[in-house]
């Protein structure tokens, strides 16, 4: 074990000098593994010895094991990532975060592909890994054009390209990774494998549909057929698959939540809708504090009633699933402490609000877009606060994919695939 501290004399108030035997090298280790990721990377710069210690393959294992048994996720900084079209109709990435440390993330994402071109588009995410394409693939592009996906880790800068795939209009995509538990040898880094599942668009409800699946184990795309006896119906607002508990979830237009396993191409879970669900659309499927959530914005925009937001959480996942109405708030009851204009705006009869994302672990907070700002909405305390601006002058935003990027306790490695 490394003995960084052995030769060092620690400061102590009027006491005899410590002998080398008093300071096992693992003492420093015990402190370091408790540091958040950002500090760990900073500490690599302290000295070459520290860099070696932190960069050792076994270190990641220690960090992961320590955090697996702690509640540290409740303090991990995170950011929202989403694309918007700017005034020149160019797609840009917005990194919206309430904590520092993410400003460099956007450029890091763009640089991962070794191109300094500002047009990496995130298509899906799973924790700290992002699935991206280099260009905006226009819907007009015919099926003769090929699309190349890349899996990137913006923290480490690593990137892996998937083999090209024939483009498919308005296909839905989902991305998930898994740790393969070898657990035998503590010092080996955990092996990661991932799958990308692409569902080419089909109209209406279907009990059987084709998918393309990429496996990091084979390094190839393959075709599969997924059976879904309860019926799966892609809506226009059905966006990216949400990875949760090893499955990719989509909200089906026939008012069900459906989960697929891209490792087996099976439909593994179907959950019925919440009792209180209205026929209007489900706004956002996401995960908050380890549970799936959906929401609806009601009384808006066509009813000219004051809009209200309802958020449901899926409980009893392993016992058939039960949706619980966690929050129901009227926007005109919400106030902003720091932005009085926002409080005033919320009293308008016609509001334009888009639900962007759930907070990854604070069960009271949801992020919304109001006017051209990302606003955090505390549904329990009924408080709104502006997080950042979205550089747009037009109000229209077709709310599409918004990703939660949570800094992990240690970056996830991207496995290389056999070529």
């Amino acid at each position: 074990m490394d003995d960084v501290l052995c030769s060092r004399k620690l400061r102590r108030p009027c006491s005899p000098p410590l002998s080398i035997d008093d300071l096992p090298g693992c003492m420093l280790m015990e402190i370091l593994i408790r540091l958040p990721l950002k500090s760990l990377f900073l500490c690599k710069c302290v000295s070459k010895q520290w860099c070696t210690l932190i960069s050792a393959p076994s270190f990641a294992g220690f960090v992961n094991r320590f955090h697996a048994s702690s509640n540290s996720i409740l303090q991990r900084p995170f950011s929202l990532l989403f694309h918007y079209h700017n005034n020149e109709h160019k797609m840009k990435l917005l990194v919206a975060s309430e904590v520092p440390g993410f400003k460099s993330l956007a450029s890091s994402i763009n640089q991962c592909d070794n191109d300094n071109v500002d047009d990496t588009v995130i298509q899906a995410s799973c924790h700290d890994l992002l699935l991206c394409t280099k260009n905006v693939v226009s819907d007009d592009a015919g099926s003769s054009s090929m699309i190349v996906y890349n899996v990137i880790n913006p923290i480490t800068g690593k990137s892996v390209s998937l083999p090209p795939l024939r483009h498919s209009r308005r296909a839905r995509i989902g991305f998930i990774y898994r740790f393969n538990d070898n657990g035998i040898n503590d010092h080996k880094q955990q092996q990661v494998s991932y799958r990308v599942m692409r569902i080419p668009e089909f109209k209406g409800k279907s009990t059987k549909f084709k998918v393309d699946i990429f496996s990091s184990d084979t390094g190839k795309w393959s075709k599969s057929v997924v059976l879904c006896p309860q019926g799966f119906w892609l809506g226009i607002f059905t966006f990216v698959g949400v990875p949760y508990n090893g499955l990719l979830f989509w909200w089906s237009l026939n008012e069900r939540l459906v989960g697929f396993d891209p490792y087996t191409s099976k439909c593994c879970r179907v959950f019925d809708k919440p009792v209180e669900l209205e026929p209007s659309r489900v706004e956002r499927l996401g995960v908050c504090h380890g549970a799936l959530r959906i929401c609806q914005l009601l009384g808006y925009p066509y009813n000219f009633a004051h809009p209200k937001l309802r958020v449901w959480e899926l409980k009893d996942y392993d016992k058939g699933g039960k949706w619980c109405l966690e929050h129901e708030v009227y926007f005109n009851q919400m106030v902003s402490k720091k932005s009085p204009w926002l409080t005033k705006y919320m009293t308008n009869r016609i509001l334009y609000v888009v639900v962007l994302a759930y907070h990854p672990y604070d069960r009271d907070i949801v992020y919304v877009k109001i006017q051209n700002k990302v606003v955090s909405c505390n549904m329990k305390r009924k408080i709104l606060e502006v997080v950042c601006d979205i550089p747009l002058t037009h109000l229209f935003y077709n709310g599409c994919n918004v990703f939660n990027f949570v800094l992990p306790c240690w970056p996830t490695p991207i496995p290389s695939s056999p070529s």
Binding site: R12, L35, F41, L42, S47
Partner: protein, 184 residues
Amino acid sequence: MSNTSENPKPSSSSAKMTLKTSDNELFEVEEAVAMKFCTVKQYFEDEKDSDVAARGSTTVIPLPNVHSAVLATLISYGKKLPQSNAVADNHEEEETKKKERKKYEQGLLKNLMPGELLDLISAANYLDFKEGLEFFNQALADHIQNKSVEYVRKFFGIKNDYEPHEEEKYREEYAWAFEGVDED
């Protein structure tokens, strides 16, 4: 700091042990607390084994590597931990105790100089005091969490062995890690 023994609350075990620090101070500690220091526990058990004849007087256990100031803090922390032989509390009592402990911990950390954390960790390590190690390791990690590289180097007394251009390159490559760091 002087001897911190107090009148123990009436409990099932009020056996005491005496610990002697590197600066020859004696601390009388309840057995229940002292047993949390596994090194002490081991010593005590070895002593018991080696001398079957009942020892009338309390054993004095020498701790040549621990200074009195440090031991006082560790004992104080050890006393606040839930005792393993305590009667099981109901949920309310448990919650109150938890809150009290939290308050105590915050107060303790406020009065500590950051440098003392290293001493406490080193002593807790020597004494094999698991709960103390966990607490003080976390406290130290929390303390250096958002500090600059220069602060960390100074704190641990580490010499920078990077060339300026190497350090510069690293800082550029991982700019996000250096964002929002506390001013020194």
